[in-house]
Amino acid sequence: MGVVHGEEMVLNIGPQHPSTHGVLRLKVKTDGEIISEITPVIGYLHRCFEKHCENMTYDQVIPFTDRCDYLAAMANNFGYVVAVEELMELKVPEKVEYIRVIMAELQRIASHLLALGVYGLDIGAFTPFLFMLRDRERILDMFEMTCGARLLYNYMWVGGVSHDLPKGFVETAFQFLDYFEPQIEEYNKLLTYNKIFIERTADIGVLPQDVAISYGVSGPNLRASGVKWDLRRNDTYSIYEKFDFDVCIGDGGQGTLGDCWDRYYVRMLEVKESVKILRQALAQMPKDGDVHQALPKKIRPPKGSIYSRTETPRGDLGFYIESDGSPIPTRVKMRSPAFTALSVLGELAGGWMMSDVISILGSLDIVLGEIDR
């Protein structure tokens, strides 16, 4: 019996579609339920971030980095200020470093919670999503407590942070961690080891290591393919070398190495690691110290360029900054992890079924604000 081929239909998934995580358009060629070719079309959310950067001073750029990856704004702030500080060869006080790490790791938990919850939603499970949002809410409350904003913080400044941690923050954070850690088990019971969830994600969208590296895939997506690569460890920045944590990699626990389930589960493991880092950072943080002490009067980096990378929840966030010695950058290029992650979709999703494409796309955890910039 031969394979029956019907007529191919071109279908546009998006720009308005519940599972494209923003205004992404996927041009797919389908033969019934089978997708034969998939082309992502991006640019619907292009806000000229890089052009804007060439018209304002270094510190004015920071709020714009918030709006790139709006689900991990702290991490984006962090990446940018680290790059500028590296360019200026600026040393920031230890307390500031601790605050930044605490914020970045809280943000990582928040971002991963949303990624995992929304992934459940993509697969069709509604309840885990609300459970995770409920816990994410508490992190946002802590951010609000610190800097007044819940989504776009503009919290990290070149040479410091905008506000010192408020009174009682450390206690609140510990309370949250004590509450949160058992919750991870509940998520696992509810979603991770659900038979249907495993059926839908295991062995689907397998991303081999060499393809992942060639496509520049980074972060949890790369680690799920079994590459032990985490900038916090491999190209350490800030004070991450002080903390004891594991770099989690996928092991093909429910299927093949590098499948959707692995990408999902690596994020779940990373949440646990972030909790570990947070406990250490909160305990070790110096009690006093001025967070504004190292703020430069004028941000005027010397002539030259820098390519600096940090590990955001989505992967390697690179900032390429070219300075001509003036207070305005000549060029700021943001190398976003979601951009590279999305580029692999065409390779990953061909030949799968319609529902699988949604589950593959969801497992890559993209944020369109960061892709289009």
Binding site: H17, P18, F126, T127, I196, E199, R200, M353, S355, I358
Partner: protein, 357 residues
Amino acid sequence: MSVDTLFDFLGSIIPAMEGSGLLLVIAILIPCLLLFLVVAVNAIVMVYAERKVAAFMQDRVGPMGQGVGLHAGKWGLLQTVADALKLLTKEDIIPKNADKLLFILAPFMIFIGAFVTIVAVPFGENVIVADFNIGIFYILAMGSLGVIGIILAGWSSNNKWSLYGGMRSAAQIISYEIPAGLSIIIIIMLTGTLSMQGIIQYQAGGMFNWIIFANPFSFIAFFIYFISVVAETNRTPFDIPEAESELVGGFHTEYSGMRWSFFFLSEYANMLVVCAVAAAGFLGGWHSPIPGYFDSNGWGIFWMMSKIVFLIFVMMWFRWTFPRLRVDQLMNICWKVFLPISLINIFGVGIWTLVFG
């Protein structure tokens, strides 16, 4: 309270018209009106219940309010009223390129499919509109009418997503009719009747006389039937025809306002019917679990309704717990698992009745 008794009753109070055709029409229309009321009230209660059950499972409170005002009322009791008002006042959009006639027809087809089945559903010892001698067969037949409406909706919308939804649902519903039907054959084998009341009367005398506990095969058959009807009503984890995250809205993507709400009315009506059949066919219908206790006429409605409500709750529980299956996995379960087991079941029940019966 079937049509016949109502006809006789009306004849006795208006002797002048006894036996006339007009009286028969009135005798038919009154239960119809009541049935429509049942469907409408059922939808109102179920939408509220679904919201509250979902909220309960998701660790939130659901619709809430204080007293009556411009909000959802005490405990959100007016939420469904607000929903209905919203749906009624929404703009009715028919896409320009849609096949207008079929587009308008589709929701009614689905609704009729759900509506007419309730005729044969027994809610109590005497509370049934028409006790056919082929009641359960009639429910099965009419229940599958809905799929025509779904295909019509999917096709006539002239939208690729709707088409996907329509095709998926056609495949799904038709497939799952088979295991559901085969499970019901077990009931018929054991009771020897197709009449709903006959089936229930067979199960009199305590919960161990219920068909679910009659033998191991019928026990399995109940679960196959229940899972199959969850799939037939397009509920999670089998909601692939709607599959919000994949197909936007599936076959009802292009529908809005009241037309759209007809899909929901019929979904909830369908749930009521399939749960009623499960309760009547496997769980003893309006019989009390303990013979002699609360087994009077009035309690019959209570027992029947509580069994239905429990099954509906389980369906909601499914919906808010499970992710969605993929379309080929769904078909695999149906054809490779349920169908063989159902056939073995029928064989097993036959042997069982031969040996122990």
